[in-house]
């Protein structure tokens, strides 16, 4: 056990002596948090909307006004360009176009069905989807308000129409701020990078420079070397997570509804897998450069399949199966749950169980491989 302690002390001494390393561990994550915290947002604001009113009646103008007064859209009213609408979308001058047909007002008066055409630039499917949602909501409101008016004017006609007005209450993130959703996820990614990348690099560095061979002829056993190489980065990772969380709370005003101690405990379970992967990568890579590329490979898959940007439920079935072995997926879910909803161990048990299974398997396999390469 003493041997492990000496290794840990040596490792930390090396980290704190290297200004570059210090920046990687403490400064870079904060920068990333700020950049990603502000940049990665699904909030849709100021979407350019093309309004083509072919009816020009009071009814159609009423609808145009509703769009104009909505904070999500910047409405550009133009005369009917005919088939030229597509040009606006293609040139990126507008993300969507709303076309109010002729006889819109009259159709409403007489109760005939009428259609409002919405043309959408689907290039950025996220923005498009959300903008479409706002659009539909405005149209729905418009229609229901008209119906209520009609009901007031001639109750006999519309009595049969029963209106179901959805009353929406959004919990846990009432303003639907994507930053609330993103920051806990980004914190999870930062922890992954530190523990996986630095562990792998630190071991490969020793192999590259030949000091690993020197360690192997000491009375240290391979498990002690692994412990001595992973514990320092576990400590750094948790310290960094604490730092990033503090920034998230103080700067981005992310609430932490749940138990911080539970979060730390689950973080330890999570890094069992990432530290194990670091060790595994060190057995696959001959140089630090190779280690970096292999880490990058894993990291990209982990992030894309984590549900951070794209909900896992929307992925094809086969891809969903792959996410089952992605530790980041569970930890992001845990982070969001604890930060925003305050769920306890009872709710998070499936995630904890998955992390334990993945962690023990990965770490065990990595240790076996390390033993094999060491001897």
């Amino acid at each position: 056990m003493k041997g492990v302690l000496h290794l840990v002390r040596k490792e930390l001494r090396q980290v704190f002596r290297d200004p570059m390393m210090l920046r990687i561990v403490f400064l870079m994550p904060i920068l990333q948090l700020f950049i990603l915290g502000y940049a990665v947002t699904f909030d849709v604001k100021n979407v350019a909307l093309l309004m083509i009113d072919r009816d020009a009646t009071s009814a159609s103008r009423g609808l145009v006004d509703r769009f104009a007064h909505n904070e999500h859209f910047v409405v550009k009213r133009i005369a009917d360009p005919g088939k030229g609408i597509e040009g606006y979308l293609r040139r990126g001058e507008a993300v969507l176009a709303v076309v109010i047909p002729k006889h819109f007002g009259r159709s409403l008066e007489t109760g005939k069905p009428t259609e409002v055409e919405i043309l959408l630039d689907g290039q950025n499917s996220n923005t498009a989807g959300i903008a479409l949602g706002y659009c539909s909501r405005i149209l729905y409101r418009f229609a229901s308000d008209r119906a209520t008016e009609g009901f007031a004017r001639s109750p006999s006609i519309s009595r049969a129409m029963r209106f179901i007005e959805p009353e929406t209450r959004i919990w846990y993130n009432p303003e639907l701020k994507s930053v609330y959703f993103m920051i806990p996820g980004i914190i999870a990614i930062l922890l992954t990078i530190i523990t996986m990348l630095l562990t792998g690099l630190a071991i490969v560095k020793e192999r590259e420079s030949g000091t690993l061979e020197q360690l192997l002829v000491t009375p240290l056993k391979p498990w002690q070397i692994i412990a001595g190489k992973t514990i320092p980065f576990a400590m750094l990772g948790i310290a960094e997570m604490a730092l990033a969380t503090t920034v998230g709370v103080l700067w981005f005003h992310i609430p932490i509804v749940g138990n911080v101690a539970l979060l730390a405990l689950l973080a330890f379970t999570f890094i069992l897998a990432t530290l194990g992967l670091g060790v595994l990568i060190s057995t696959l890579a001959g140089t630090q450069q190779q280690a970096l590329f292999i880490t990058w490979f894993f990291l990209q898959i982990f992030i894309l399949l984590s549900g951070l940007f794209y909900p896992i439920e929307n992925m094809p079935r086969a891809v969903q199966m792959i996410t089952v072995i992605n530790p980041l997926r569970y930890f992001i879910a845990i982070n969001r749950e604890i930060f925003l909803k305050g769920g306890g161990l009872g709710v998070l048990w499936p995630e904890l169980r998955a992390l334990l299974i993945i962690g023990v398997c990965v770490f065990g396999f990595a240790t076996l491989r390390f033993h094999k390469r060491a001897s």
Binding site: G3, K10, Q14, R17, G210, T218
Partner: protein
Amino acid sequence: MNDPAIRVEGISKSHGAAVALSSVSFAVERGEMFGLIGPDGAGKTTLMRILTSLIDADEGEAWVLGFPVRSGAARVREAIGYMPQHFSLYSDLTVAENIRFFADLFGVAKEARVARTEELLDFSRLGPFVKRRAGALSGGMKQKLALSCALVHTPRVLVLDEPTTGVDPVSRRDFWDMLERLRAQGVTVVVSTPYMNEASLCRHMVFIHKGRILASGTVGEITALFRGTVFSVEGPNLQAISTRLKNAVEPELVRILGDAVQVLALGRSREEVGALLETMRQGGVVSHSREIPPGVEDTFVSLMRE
């Protein structure tokens, strides 16, 4: 306590299809300077890694101070100090921190550590540089620090893999002096080297080529194996003599050494080479030639060709 420092019996090791060692056997007496001599790729490093329990042999067994390396790895590691070929230290740690780190890993107690560090710094003359980072040391000093780290637990057997490869001649001589002082203190020193001229600094040696031992013994025993004649040739233009000779016999049998050209006449070619030298002497290219006793290197060259 009558076990030899190292005993190797029938060790074989293959890396895939490539045979690194094939039934190698030898013994190293306690307190002697022992050389593993051989060209690059001979299997010296593989042998040393087996001796230090870093890898297992496919066949055979080796003992260090009587402890089998395969099953007694822990005892072997305590007894042995190993300096790998591409020795390395933590360049971002200081001289003192490097020594301390390895002392800690070997579980050297505090008083012993302090005394031993003092001794090693004195021995390696690194005393003035204790606070310097290892990365900022010169090549020769790095090597001395590596040796100090390998010695920190006072091993009774020291194994060095090509310690002088790529080191300047002055540092090299310095280093051999240090090894000789250690030997005088009773440490068994096993050293591998591709430099044949360093072989004569060892009391016993084995010559390894392509994983086999071609010769073993003292300098005298090895040179007795030489079959042929060594001519030392002098003349006004050594380069010209060398070129002429290389055209006549095989190039690798000719080399310039100091102010003479040496040419090996192996087997029955003695008369032919003698006649050639006589012709060259008459032509004025050679001023003088004579037969000299073979050296270790000459013997190895001849053995490698058999």
